[in-house]
């Protein structure tokens, strides 16, 4: 699951961060000890450390330490807080001026200036560079240097004059001169940032080590070092956490939560994440395109029970819409009460029989339920297929690796329809409903060869509502637009909402000040906290 961050963070920035925000002082942590090493277990191996191209949440753990973000979202409120940018002014319909903190230095001694900010953002936003993070700055026209510590962000005409949706780790600021000197490939393997920790080494398959930046401008980081250890087997990661081999485990299965909670030296912090998992219908398929089929599939399963059986009520909650409960405009209650369908096998059987009689469900046809190899989604796919079979519809679960799964989901010139009826998929986004609704359900993103809108939902009114939300700053109006759009999407039954993941980590009690974030990041020293460890 790739980390996606707030495309439209800027709306929040304007609403909460208008003119002259004061710098935020890092709160003192009573009894904090300076020194020590923190070891973090990471579920996957690392791939890219250049924030301009990094698009994995696991790589972001290291980027969080080595780089400073342009702004940062508070983990509790998701409100933007100053970081490299200390304040901003909305100058016009399409122009926002950012004032940078002065005296920030990169680890190689270079000053962080507006040149570096403009270089970073313009590089990402330049389609010629093919940055995986391009879409996160798709609203930006250009970044312009005004003076050494002032940069203007110009937005495209079709976007409202909001302060740009800068994420934290993907729009971390890179040193322009150093990058141009060493080249992108070398910078990716040995990054230089301005963050609280300096990159030390990357031992392939073993660990990445960062150490304290003694000259960090914001606060003196409490930790000496952070070691990131990739441990792909979750059961082994739990053993490492239990034995003290690691201090933080970035994941924990539901079956281990109670066990670790019972240990007096392990905490299990949890927070609703900004993720959404669903089984979507292939609306291009002649079978799934029939709304009766979609409703009958919905009615074939007790979805509350199914989700509970997988997550035990601990690491996942039933979803009723795409926007997670942690975000505004989620409208979960209304969707649950007015759109979600209760299990009704009799009704489902009747509808399936009707569809068979009409030839919509051809005789001998086996409905294909595709799923990634993730055990949770495979389990849910199996529950769905089993219930369909019980209701008279032959069904099979087809677990696939990412490669062939994406080939199918993205469609192709040779297979524009896609040989499947249902597919489990997941998405993680930033702190704006746009990040879910636009990518997953706007017809812009139903493109053969690359499709986030994998269901191929094409409802003009939904497009209009989502586009309209781009053009207004009125929060109430935006919320209303998103609510309307989401209701239309799910009344169309384009997808059956599955679950929202509850971010669950295992943290040794020797670690103090760590805050779990719905954005899945792994900040240790930021404007609002400074993690420390006991000896």
């Amino acid at each position: 699951m790739l980390k996606r961050v707030g495309l439209l963070l800027g709306f929040s920035l304007v609403l909460f961060g208008l003119i002259g925000l004061a710098e935020t002082a890092v709160p003192e942590t009573p009894g904090a000890r300076v020194g020590g090493t923190l070891t973090i277990g990471v579920s996957q191996t690392f791939k890219d450390l250049d924030p301009r191209i990094m698009n994995s949440v696991y790589d972001s753990y290291v980027v969080n330490a080595v780089f400073d973000g342009f702004v940062i979202l508070h983990p509790d409120t998701l409100e933007p807080m100053p970081w490299v940018a200390k304040s901003w002014d909305v100058l016009s319909d399409r122009q926002v001026r950012f004032y940078l903190n002065e005296g920030i230095k990169f680890h190689n001694g270079d000053d962080l200036t507006a040149e570096d900010v403009a270089f970073t953002f313009n590089w990402i936003a330049d389609p010629a560079n093919n940055s995986p993070n391009f879409t996160e700055l798709i609203w930006m026209k250009e970044a312009i240097v005004v003076d050494t510590y002032t940069v203007d962000i110009i937005t495209k005409d079709e976007y409202a004059p909001y302060a740009p949706g800068f994420s934290t780790e993907t729009q971390a600021i890179v040193p322009k001169n150093y990058v141009l000197e060493v080249g992108d490939a070398a910078f990716n393997l040995s990054p230089v940032g301005s963050g609280p920790f300096k990159f030390v080494e990357w031992r392939a398959g073993e660990r990445i080590v960062v150490e304290r930046n003694e000259d960090y401008w914001l606060v003196y980081p409490n930790l000496d070092r952070i070691i990131y250890r990739p441990i792909p087997e979750l059961s082994v990661m739990m053993l490492e956490l239990e034995s003290g081999g690691i201090d933080i485990a970035d994941n924990m299965p539901a079956t281990d939560v109670a066990r670790f909670r019972a240990m007096d030296y392990i905490d299990v912090p949890q927070v609703g994440s900004l993720s959404y998992f669903h089984v979507f219908f292939n609306l291009l398929s002649p079978i799934s395109s029939d709304i009766r089929f979609r409703k009958a599939v919905y009615m074939s399963v007790d979805w509350e029970a199914a989700v509970f059986s997988v997550f035990q009520g601990l690491t996942g909650v039933k979803a009723y819409g795409a926007v997670p409960p942690a975000l505004w405009a989620n409208d979960q209650e209304w969707l649950r009460d007015n759109v979600a369908l209760e299990e009704d096998d009799a009704q489902a059987k009747r509808i399936f029989a009707e569809l068979k009689a009409e030839g919509v469900l051809p005789a001998g046809k086996t409905v294909r339920v595709m799923t990634p190899l993730d055990p949770r989604r495979t389990q849910l796919a199996t529950i769905l297929a089993t219930n369909l079979i019980e209701n008279g519809v032959p069904a099979e679960v087809v677990p696939l690796d990412w490669g062939p799964l994406l080939d199918l989901a993205y469609r192709s010139e040779s297979d524009p329809i896609g040989d499947f009826e249902l597919m489990w998929m997941g998405w993680s986004g930033g702190p704006d409903p746009q990040d879910f609704l636009y990518y997953l359900f706007h017809s812009d993103n139903a493109t053969v060869g690359s499709a986030d809108n994998m269901s191929w939902t094409q409802i003009p009114e939904v497009d209009r509502l989502i586009d309209a939300a781009n053009t207004t700053l009125d929060q109430d109006e935006r919320e209303d637009l998103f609510v309307q759009a989401q209701r239309l999407i799910f009344q169309n039954y384009s997808a059956i909402p599955g679950y929202h993941y509850i971010e669950t980590r295992g943290v040794n009690t020797r670690v103090h000040g760590y805050k779990i974030s719905p954005l899945s990041n792994m900040w240790m020293t930021t404007p609002y906290h400074n993690v420390w460890v006991e000896g």
Partner: protein
């Protein structure tokens, strides 16, 4: 013998060439577009296309094949997702696999050969039954399960060994080696015992069977009748003759230990080439998969050649010329 060796090496070249074609074909037939996987979920079609062009995945298959082969042999083949040459990616992980394989082999031999010998000598005794039973368990128990149990018992419950990963390593001109440090040695124990378990069991069984057969031979009776000490009879005469099939088996295990430690490395988070293969496959890094598959094939072939030569050395009756 020299001629035989040269012939085998020449054969190896032809076999490797044939393997390059087979591996390339399998890579191309593997489902899933590598460019889409590398671009990640939500990538623009232009980004996917750019990756495809940059990595030469849009070129005709013969062109792609030539690029892989020539790049591999001139050392310039870049990994698709590791931002380094393929040989660098492989060689930086190789020492970890070598030391894991070597330790596993040493453990397997030190335990299994004496156990097999004693089991044969004291046939049908409690010792024999114990060795046979333990060997059967060793063959039957999945390596990854054994590794997990060892981690649980020694790493979590007893807390005498690290649970997983590789310990402190020393940088040398031939790579980074961890067995030379105490921390590194401690990290080696669990994965190498787990990896050695199957080899231990098989070698013990094979040694026992081979010894039993040799001990029935007339020359053994003759040796005893001549009044030789039993130790001399067993070690100098019986064991040496029983060794041949054991050597063959061990030689074949060398290749397996280097190339087949995938499960052990993945379970114990050991950063070797077995785990690298899994990573590269899941990333669809065709360059690394291609280079690594050929490298591992070469390891197997060389180990088989060495075994054949060793066989002839042990048994002078064997000639190849």
């Amino acid at each position: 013998m020299f001629g035989y060796t040269v012939r085998r090496l020449v054969q190896m070249v032809f076999v490797l060439f044939a393997l390059t074609l087979l591996i390339f074909a399998l890579l191309k037939l593997m489902p899933g577009d590598p460019a889409k996987v590398m671009a990640g979920l939500g990538a623009r079609i232009e980004t996917i296309e750019a990756i495809r062009v940059k990595l030469g995945l849009d070129r005709p298959w013969p062109v792609q094949y030539w690029r892989l082969i020539s790049g591999l042999f001139n050392g310039e083949l870049e990994a698709m997702t590791y931002h380094k040459p393929v040989w660098t990616v492989i060689l930086e992980r190789l020492p970890a696999t070598f030391e894991l394989g070597a330790f596993a082999l040493i453990i397997a031999l030190v335990v299994s050969i004496p156990a097999g010998m004693l089991s044969a000598i004291y046939r049908n005794s409690v010792l024999d039954y114990t060795v046979t039973t333990v060997a059967l368990m060793g063959i039957s128990i999945p390596v990854f399960w054994l590794a997990l149990m060892l981690m649980l018992v020694f790493g979590v419950i007893l807390r005498v060994l690290p649970v997983s990963g590789r310990g402190t390593a020393i940088e040398t001109v031939v790579g980074r080696w961890s067995f030379v440090t105490w921390d590194g040695f401690r990290h080696l124990i669990i994965p190498s015992v787990a990896l050695a378990s199957v080899q231990m069991a098989m070698n013990a069984r094979l040694t026992r069977a081979s010894m039993l057969e040799v001990l029935q031979q007339e020359y053994i009776k003759t040796a005893r009748a001549k009044g030789l000490k039993e130790r001399v009879v067993l070690v100098k005469h019986a064991f040496r003759n029983a060794l041949a099939p054991v050597v063959t088996n061990v030689g074949m295990q060398v290749g397996t230990l280097v190339a087949g430690a995938v499960l052990t490395e993945t379970t114990t988070a050991w950063p070797g080439i077995g785990r690298l293969m899994i990573e590269a496959i899941s990333r669809r890094d065709q360059a690394v998969v291609f280079g690594l598959a050929l490298f591992l094939a070469a390891i197997y072939m060389v180990s088989y050649i060495v075994v054949d030569l060793l066989y002839a050395y042990i048994d002078p009756r064997i000639t190849y010329d």
